[in-house]
Symmetry: C2
Subunit: 492 residues, 2 copies
């Protein structure tokens, strides 16, 4: 159990890997690079999905489902405008397994069942979706198409880490089509804002909204909007992207519409996605050396109640009290679990629920029965207090909101104290090494300088912040002139 959790200061990376497994979020599977998302982890992901799905629908989007496979030729059409697109992917070449005649009990790929054209397991669905949109769009009346898909995708990553980088992952991908450039840009920005709102209000993760540089941009995009978060080890994590695709995919897949004047025009597109990577961001933003710390909005169990008793009679008395509290909490839409297992001691239960990040733990013992009290412990601050049972349900419900806000503010404070302005390359390197976090610096705007800084420091430009102001300065590496600061960081 948690006793053995590596601490963050000992080895942050090891702490993360251990925590994800020990808290029952996910584990590696017998399939290279693919994870099993365990029920407790999946319950958190389901809460994310439900909230995001609600937000997508509120902004006018509908869900649909497109094929898992992309024929190689569709990729070729896309490749024309998206050079450098990742090509490490899972490729289906055959469609039949048969018994191996030479090895009893063994199976082999039937060499006679070779596909005429190879199928790629989707790494993302622009190609298949835009080739479908071609059939859906004739006139401006068919636009906009505002469609989202919840799906699994596969990218053949060589080095994988649970949630942060896996060969298969779960995500949503929005793909929209518009009649005008400005409407498509507005959509890209809107979805970046939806992601930011979700990250901040729901996951309690403060994010910086910005634009990617050309180097970091999605290959098929004219502009990539992103939200960037900061983890407790001072490394940044890209938490979501929203791409303005211009007419690139419309041109690659010949998607045109007749405008109000009857003239044929190419459609304007966007795509945007967040993935199970957010689970990694969640863990790394809030958790501590005792285990997970979950924001109440995402916690599958918000309150756990542990009885402390010496006899069955005491347990029965406690249970009577607890049942009243449970029903009051449920009325307030608080998800609560009464852990009355008799196979485990209270200390074991405390450690287990701490490890699993349940925001509030309530303990009830014989003394509480006498005094009409409950012991209320907060997971985030590890503090305890004794509260009278009168009004306890409302108190708990309010406390959950307070915890949600406190977690955000704590993370915001950490993030804000880890944005450092520098004006020289020496300073830049020193901050990156000593303190980490975002480094705000002038850059001459060239890909060559960006690349060189990356080679020298491992730091990349996370984004050009949207709220940045114009400010004359000179590039930290080349000294060439610059008109605004950008944010660098080492990143996941």
């Amino acid at each position: 159990m948690s006793k053995n959790l590596t601490t963050r200061s000992e080895d942050y990376s090891k702490w993360y890997n251990e925590l994800v497994v020990k808290a029952d979020l996910a584990e590696n599977s017998g399939v290279r690079g693919c994870m099993v998302i365990k029920p407790y982890g999946y319950a958190i992901w389901e809460k994310m999905q439900a909230e995001l799905d609600r937000m997508f629908k509120e902004t006018g989007h509908q869900n649909a489902y497109f094929p898992l496979f992309v024929p190689k030729s569709m990729f070729e059409a896309e490749e024309k405008n998206a050079e450098g697109f990742a090509k490490e992917c899972a490729i289906v070449t055959h469609y039949r397994l048969k018994n191996d005649p030479d090895k009893p009990g063994k199976l082999m790929v039937d060499p006679n069942a070779k596909l005429e054209e190879e199928l790629i397991v989707r790494p993302t669905s622009e190609a298949i979706i835009w080739s479908t949109y071609k059939g859906w769009v004739q006139s401006y009346r068919d636009l906009p198409l505002l469609i989202n898909q919840w799906a699994n995708v596969v990218r053949w990553e060589m080095r994988t880490r649970l949630f942060l980088r896996t060969a298969e992952f779960l995500w949503q991908e929005g793909h929209t089509a518009h009649a005008t450039r400005s409407e498509a840009i507005e959509e890209s920005e809107k979805m970046m804002n939806v992601y930011a709102e979700f990250a901040e209000n729901f996951m309690a993760i403060p994010v910086i909204k910005g634009l990617k540089t050309e180097t970091e941009r999605f290959a098929g995009a004219e502009e990539t909007y992103c939200i960037e978060a900061l983890m407790q080890d001072g490394k940044a994590l890209q938490a979501g992207t929203s791409h303005f695709l211009g007419q690139n995919f419309a041109k690659a897949f010949d998607v045109k519409f007749a405008n109000a004047e009857g003239k044929q025009e190419y459609v304007w597109g966007t795509s945007w996605g967040v993935s199970t990577r957010l689970m990694g961001a969640l863990v790394m933003t809030h958790s501590d050396d005792k285990g997970l710390v979950l924001p109440p909005n995402l916690a599958p169990i918000q309150v756990v109640i542990v009885p402390i008793h010496k006899s069955d009679e005491q347990l029965a008395e406690i249970t009577t009290e607890v049942n009243v509290l449970v029903s009051e909490l449920k009325k307030l839409h608080v998800s609560v679990k009464y852990d009355d297992r008799t196979t485990q001691k209270p200390g074991f239960k405390f450690a287990e629920w701490e490890l699993k990040g349940v925001p509030i733990r309530i303990a009830v013992g014989p003394k509480d029965l006498e005094n009409g009290t409950f012991e209320v412990a907060r997971r985030d601050t590890l503090t305890k207090e004794v509260k009278p049972k009168n009004g306890i349900a409302t108190y708990i419900s309010d406390l959950l909101e307070e915890i949600q806000a406190d977690l955000f503010n704590k993370a915001l404070n950490y993030r804000d104290t880890h944005i450092t302005e520098v004006n020289s390359f020496e300073e830049f390197k020193a901050v990156l090494n000593d303190k980490g976090g975002f480094v705000s610096a002038h850059w001459d705007g060239t890909a060559a300088t960006e690349e060189k800084i990356k080679d020298l420091t491992k730091a990349t430009i996370r984004c050009i912040p949207l709220d940045g102001v114009e400010e004359a300065g000179s590039c930290i590496l080349t000294g060439n002139s610059s008109v605004r600061r950008v944010l660098f960081a080492k990143a996941y």
Copy 2:
């Protein structure tokens, strides 16, 4: 639009194929055998998912997610106890696409990026899940595992039809592990009952619960429970299955637990699933020559309101009235759409919403404004009546319940009048040819007879009904003795 829909009597199969596409449920994609589920179709599937998911959770199940790929060797372990398992599947053999040096703009599979072991795209997940369960189960305290997964699966079908049989489809698959045989059997039966309740109360599709014969059983199962529905053309459709796996997969993947006495035992398993095939059943059970007929519980739009006006002033007046009704209906949790498009005429809208199966259409014209009325049309009966606006919202809400019940009763009546008892093979063939439906007949219990009947008539044993009574008789084909009737039918 619907004008051109082939009628059921003309060509039932063609009617179905056209309807699925014209009603915007799904379409074929550019990928062989894979479909695109369009937003309107997906919205229906989402409603099914939400209700099933609620029912699974209410019966103690949790969701999780397991890898898309199954290494070939895991299949071999499974194959030992599941001979004859379908081997037509998508096989990943390589992990990199590269530019073809000989053909500019073309891509090729990199021959140097061959996987050491081929990966099969899951046709079902018993193998990967049971190989995972091995790590999760040590003691009886770890049981039961009650887990469900929502996922895509792939089976390389040669002849595909939208929803009914596609290479890729969406489904849920429950996989549970238990300490005792009786608990696992109870679970299999419980989930069959959940499916039956869902089909009848939610989809308005009456089903027969039964057991599959050994021939029709899932290869790895000791017993397969099923629910069988009857389509309007007299063909049966298997709507869901729940398998009692015995210890087969536990033995194949070495999943043991220490019982309360510390003795090692193999775990008992179940698996159960329903898929997007249910969409096909939904369409074929209720729809008619004008288009879809959707049960209110599954309709993305339950009520559509169409204004009938000659001027903008009239439209404005109508809209004022409609807004009141819309907000009243929303309070009653009725999903309602006000179709105030000015680009289409009322007649076009009527046909479109008829095609899409919206259960209730309300029309409002100048006369209704004068008289304080609405015209209410039912999609299922194609009947209309004029109703006073006082109390209209409650009337509509009640009418939706009535329609839901009527659809079920209509389908039940059709089904019940299409179960025919026969006592000779001549009768059997005559009923199959002339009337269709389920044919209740004595069978000698052998696979050979079952096979022969199938060869001669294309009818298969759909199930051994659970509510069947013991009755001495003789097999319609061989004359050998039999103790109960089974249900035969031609089937999807």
